[in-house]
Amino acid sequence: MTRGPDQHATGSQRLWQRFRRNRAGVVGLGCVLSLLLIAMLSPLIAGNVPIVCRYQDQWYAPAVVETVRRIPIVGRIVRPSKPFGLPGFDAKSELSDADTAIWPLIPFGPTETSTQSFASPSSTHWLGTDEIGRDIAARMVHGTTVSMSVGVVAMGIAGFIGLFIGGIAGFAGGWVDAVLSRVIEVVICFPVLFLILSVMVWLEPNIVNVMIIIGITRWTAVARFTRGEFIKLKEQEFVLAARASGAGTLRIAVRHLLPNALAPALVTLTFGVAQAILIEAALSWLGFGVQPPNPSWGNLLRSAYVHLRSDPYMVYPPCVAIFVAVLAYNLVGDALRDAIDPRTELQART
């Protein structure tokens, strides 16, 4: 067995060894990581301020500052690099050719307009421009940030709720389980998109509300898996051994059951991210998500759809991006599920 898991590897190492054998999963993981990287570094990839520049005898790194400032909470301590980013300050015209400047790969801001509307893909505008001359490639890059953060944050919320409710239901059993299971079933029965739409009517349509609403409606799968895991795990002998050594209920639930239940929850959450990306795109397409002029794959698709007859080139980028992202997350989820399932190894051996 040259490719069998090493007996002396830790749990996560063994998981990776098994995951690696699934080629589609590895490709998916590559795509997911690339998308996450693009999402995190989008001002460095596409923007109308330079990454590093020398302006009026001073060094600036406006795009780097912008990247850092987008990190929630901690980013706030970094002050914006004036005068870059101030309204009315056009870095491109202010910086003369004599000034040193390293520009992002796509030197256009996501909301930066130009006179060239409906430009076909070219070497200047890789994916063309839209009706008011905004660069589609730049908007796609910044839309990635929206899709990825919606997917990850919404599933973070869903994972938290799901682990909590599923864990309590599975661990407590009895009437607590009966009540919580019915709650889960009721939430499953909601047609999610319509529920979200009706709630979004009351809420301000922005990215944070989209994250929250997806998070609090898409936790049921995680809850059910966690409940099942807890029911299975609490009968394990190591739980009995822990109780026999004096561990209390909370310690058993948090230290012994929860970490063992995380892997299946992670699989469900990975599939959930793909779902969340789709829901966000649908909401933005319908106009209840990210509001123009801020870009998202959904509203890019929407504006492309309006001009589908005359300028069909606009429709491909968001379609391909959504397709790749959803497929990649599903491939990763599949591979992760197979890697966790101990039966996979037996099949591989026989």
Partner: protein, 372 residues
């Protein structure tokens, strides 16, 4: 015999560490309740190894679980009885403690190790962390101290390079090593009583001997008592000071180990000993006890062993005693012809207790009941 009620400071040394009195544990099942442990009385003395033996399903593990109060409320309950434990020079009934007080007893005063070292360790935690956990759960040390003491304890249970092994995960260890880790876990807080539920059953024979030796030497060095639950008479003969034989949820015989092996009084114990293979024996087949353990849903009337008992059949054939269905009537019904209960444990020889109607009780200085 010193009884618990009249114990004073001077008598305390002779007082048992643990005294189980009239313990009765019921499990719920589809067909009603099952009495897995029925009126079980025995004690564990300071520094001794008390073995509890019996076939599968005789209630020996249920007894151990009842003492620890680890029976899940959905599965069953302790219906009656007392479990008196000498906790910090004060006798307490474990069955009356509230859950948090019981939790502080578990692991700290009474520890337990289980049959399956493979599944008794959490697969995702390093073994050092799991050993240290007992201290942390009782708030006896901070993380650093607990880890250091866990490493020391792992060394004491015979794990080489303990500080490195402590960082291993359970799957990286062999079965014997895992059982050593379990023992280290159980002994972290220096308990006074260790309940070992079939500690060697899942291990290789060579490893079995090592683990038993380890248990005995730790018993000596830590000054604790061991309650060894086993179905293996070989293990019992080697390790126990006294033996308690259980059958169908009841104690049928209780005696010092030499006495029991030399002079078994209960027909069931005799059957068990005869069924052991002997090298000196040229017999091709092993002697067996006919029949099998009765269904716990419906134990036989009278003596629960009578359907399998050779003695009652033999005596029935002699023809001078009342007989019902081929066995002695006495084994099924009471003297007054009522549907019978089972015989109670009586002292037949000094320190030797047996629950059989055909074994006469000791006449002189007879204790009031089955007290040891």
């Amino acid at each position: 015999m010193t009884s618990v009620q009249t114990a004073d400071k001077s008598g305390r040394r002779h007082q048992p560490l643990l005294r189980v009195e009239g313990l009765r544990t019921e499990y719920r099942s589809d067909g009603g309740t099952i009495t897995a442990v029925d009126n079980v009385t025995f004690d564990v003395r300071r520094g001794e190894v008390l073995a509890i033996v019996g076939e599968s399903g005789c209630g020996k593990s249920a007894t151990a679980m009842s003492i620890m109060r680890l029976i899940s409320p959905t599965a069953g309950r302790i219906a009656s009885g007392r479990v008196l434990f000498d906790r910090d020079e004060e006798s307490v009934d474990l069955l009356l403690l509230d859950e948090s007080a019981m939790r502080s007893v578990r692991g700290q005063h009474i520890s337990m190790i289980f049959q399956e070292p493979m599944t008794s360790l959490n697969p995702i935690h390093q073994v050092g962390d799991q050993v240290a956990e007992a201290l942390l759960a009782h708030g006896l040390a901070n993380r650093r101290e607990a880890w250091d003491r866990a490493v020391t304890m792992l060394g004491k249970v015979g794990i080489a390079a303990a500080s490195e092994r402590a960082r291993d995960f359970p799957h990286q260890l062999s079965g014997g090593m895992r059982q050593r880790v379990m023992i280290a876990m159980a002994l972290m807080c220096h308990p006074k009583l260790l309940i070992a539920d079939e500690p060697t059953t899942a291990l290789d024979v060579t490893v079995q001997a090592q683990i038993l030796d380890l248990l005995l030497s730790l018993k000596e060095s830590q000054g604790m008592s061991v309650m060894l639950v086993s179905h293996d008479l070989g293990v019992v003969a080697e390790t126990a000071d006294r033996v308690c034989v259980m059958y169908a949820g009841q104690v049928v015989e209780l005696a010092p180990v030499r006495e029991l092996f030399a002079n078994p009084l209960h027909p069931y114990t005799r059957g068990l000993l005869e069924s052991l293979p002997r090298i000196s024996d040229a017999k091709e087949r092993l002697t067996v006890i006919p029949g099998s353990v009765p269904n716990a849903r419906r134990f036989p009337d009278g003596c629960r062993f009578h359907p399998r008992c050779g003695l009652t059949r033999e005596l029935a054939c002699s023809g001078n005693r009342p007989v019902t269905d081929g066995v002695l009537a006495r084994c099924i019904r009471d003297v007054d012809g009522q549907q019978g209960g089972s015989p109670t444990l009586q002292e037949a020889e000094p320190e030797h207790f047996v629950a059989c109607w055909e074994v006469p009780a000791r006449q002189d200085n007879q204790p009031e009941s089955a007290h040891v």
